[in-house]
């Protein structure tokens, strides 16, 4: 009886591992294929059965992509936008969140409700008037347009406020008695304490700005302003048969996100989990 139970348990374990291993394989194969193809000549990309490790890796692919398209320019543009948007979002969101969680003022609840309500409104529903507005301000084909659209997020305020709610009010009270101004409390107490929330928001904002596609597609039509996503897509349709080059450029476009992700994935996963629970 006990033996049967035990072998049943082992069988379940084996099944679990087989299922998981298969899924891991499905998830990983595209990247491995990407990496492997990025080191091949066009004619070798689709040889079947597949040659996972190319006999003669073509490292030139990684040199060529920089001259075929202004890849460096695209990466610089994207990095610039991602960093500026992230910094602005962190500052303005945590600043506003402090007032919403620790200060009393008229209209607080109504204002916060407004923030939450607008999170649910899809951006795609007002992207057209936003574009018209930006154009009439003369901001289309500027990076400023993208920055202004993404730097002031309701989601950021919501996320930071959820975190600040968990910090005891007594801490702020004590600081006030010690003579710290509200700005001082924000800078010296709330910010250092909210590192996990700040990290979560940093990753979310950085990654989504880095990967943003529709925004830059609408606003940035000049080549020298384009971001890596738009540039990569242009490259793909322009050189649709140069598989090795396309895959090399794809690998390059993923690396920064991979680094950010691996470095901070603990916070990332926590952030997702937290936003899920609060739902």
């Amino acid at each position: 009886m006990v033996g049967a139970n035990k072998s049943f348990k082992i069988a379940t374990k084996v099944l679990v591992y087989v299922l998981l291993a298969l899924t891991v394989l499905c998830m990983l194969v595209p990247y491995v294929w990407m990496l492997s193809s990025s080191l091949k000549l066009n004619k070798d990309v689709f040889t079947f059965p597949m040659q996972w490790i190319p006999a003669m890796p073509r490292w030139e692919n990684y040199a060529d992509i920089w001259t075929r398209i202004p890849l460096g320019r695209f990466i610089y543009n994207t990095a610039k936008l991602s960093v500026i948007v992230t910094v602005l979002q962190l500052l303005t969101s945590s600043f506003a969140a402090y007032a919403f969680s620790k200060l009393q003022f008229r209209g607080k609840n109504l204002l916060f409700l407004g923030y939450i309500a607008t999170i649910a409104i899809p951006w795609q529903a007002y992207m057209v008037p936003q574009f018209i507005m930006m154009r009439s301000l003369g901001l289309n084909n500027t990076h400023l347009a993208i920055i202004l659209l993404q730097a002031f997020s309701a989601f950021g305020v919501f996320l930071m406020r959820q975190f600040y709610q968990g910090i005891p009010d007594e801490l702020c009270e004590a600081a006030r008695i010690d003579g710290l101004s509200e700005y001082g409390i924000w800078a010296r107490i709330m910010l250092p304490l909210s590192k996990p929330a700040l990290s979560t928001l940093t990753i979310f904002t950085f990654v989504s700005t880095w990967n943003d596609f529709l925004g830059p597609m609408i606003y940035l039509t000049k080549t020298e302003l384009k971001t890596i996503q738009i540039g990569l897509r242009m490259f793909i349709s322009q050189y649709s048969a140069e598989y090795g080059l396309i895959m090399a450029a794809s690998v390059v476009s993923i690396i920064p996100v991979l680094i950010v992700f691996l470095g901070l994935q603990k916070y990332f996963v926590q952030g997702v989990a937290a936003s899920g629970i609060k739902g």
Partner: protein, 312 residues
């Protein structure tokens, strides 16, 4: 800085500003940087969208108020109906498929398992990886005659390659391919939400069920499912809303230009984008956007009700 005004424990007679007013001013100064930007670049366009839906405008000539004409035009517009239908088909495909995969993975990963963190990372990474890049790989892997997928299928089943699905290139399979890709790309995200939900379940509930002689299925059915109801509602809500907002996945999964999107893969946001930025019919595009917004709003309301009912 005059800290005592903030603290405000003692009355400061003769000050020009009352303590309450100062406190309010300080609080508003915290909110202002975010709120001003948010109001100008988000709230104003939101209201502008409402107005635009009732006008005819090409962006150059004067606006013309036309009442509900844009909406009555929508009711007759078969291209828009098709786009709406495609969006619904996509949603109906993506939502249950993602939920089942995400929950199954979360349950498997919630056990004592070797390399759990590694797997969590692997499943989650497609969610953050650049869409353009991973869509390009999918296009190659699923390319009809040369791609490894069809070559492997050919080896396994013996069906000639010409008779195998042409995936994204085939109008009958295109939608399925997009759904498959979406699930692959996003399920890690929902898996993490489910994992958090699972970890919030009190283990005593399982112990009690086990004492009552409940087998694994019964424990899942009577403990896991009801305990996860709030998580499930949350996941359902964002999945449906995100499916209605989809556009970038569609244009990226079809390797060439978006004119390759045939009528079986044109979704609502594509229609809005095209009407506004290609046909310069801003009013009509905004009417479509209002329909999109109303649909999302309706879903949100239904799901909030559901959350209230099943949430606790």
């Amino acid at each position: 800085m005059q800290n005592e005004t903030v603290l405000g424990t003692k009355k400061a007679p003769g000050r020009r500003l009352s303590k309450g007013f100062r406190d309010h001013l300080i609080a508003y100064s915290f909110i202002a940087p975010n709120f001003i930007g948010f109001a100008v670049f988000t709230l104003v366009p939101m209201f502008f969208a409402l107005i635009l839906a009732f006008v005819k405008w090409d962006g150059a000539n004067p606006m013309k108020f036309i009442g509900f004409d844009n909406f009555s035009r929508l009711i007759k517009d078969t291209t828009f109906h098709k786009a709406l239908w495609n969006t619904i088909v996509y949603t109906v495909g993506v939502v249950p498929f993602t939920m089942i995969c995400a929950l199954a993975l979360a349950i498997l990963l919630n056990q004592q398992i070797i390399a759990r963190n590694f797997m969590r990372t692997v499943f989650f990474f497609p969610y953050v990886a650049s869409l353009v890049a991973v869509a390009a790989v999918w296009n190659f892997i699923f390319s009809p005659t040369m791609g490894p997928v069809n070559n492997i299928l050919h080896l396994i089943t013996g069906v000639p390659i010409e008779d195998l699905p042409r995936w994204a290139a085939d109008r009958h399979w295109a939608m399925f391919t997009v759904i498959l890709f979406t699930v692959w790309k996003n399920m890690g995200y929902y898996m993490v939400i489910y994992l958090a939900g699972l970890q919030g379940i009190n283990p005593e509930l399982y112990e009690a069920a086990e004492l009552d002689g409940a087998n694994a299925w019964k424990r899942f059915r009577n403990v896991t499912v009801p305990q996860l109801a709030p998580t499930t509602f949350f996941v359902l809500m964002i999945l449906v809303i995100n499916s209605f907002k989809v556009y970038d996945i569609f244009i990226n999964l079809f390797a060439g230009a978006d004119n390759q999107l045939n009528d079986s893969t044109r979704v609502m946001v594509y229609q809005i984008y095209n009407t506004a930025f290609r046909s310069l019919d801003y009013g009509y595009a905004s009417a479509m956007a209002i329909v999109l917004f109303l649909l999302v709003l309706a879903i949100t309301i239904v799901q909030f009700r559901g959350e209230k009912k099943y949430g606790q």
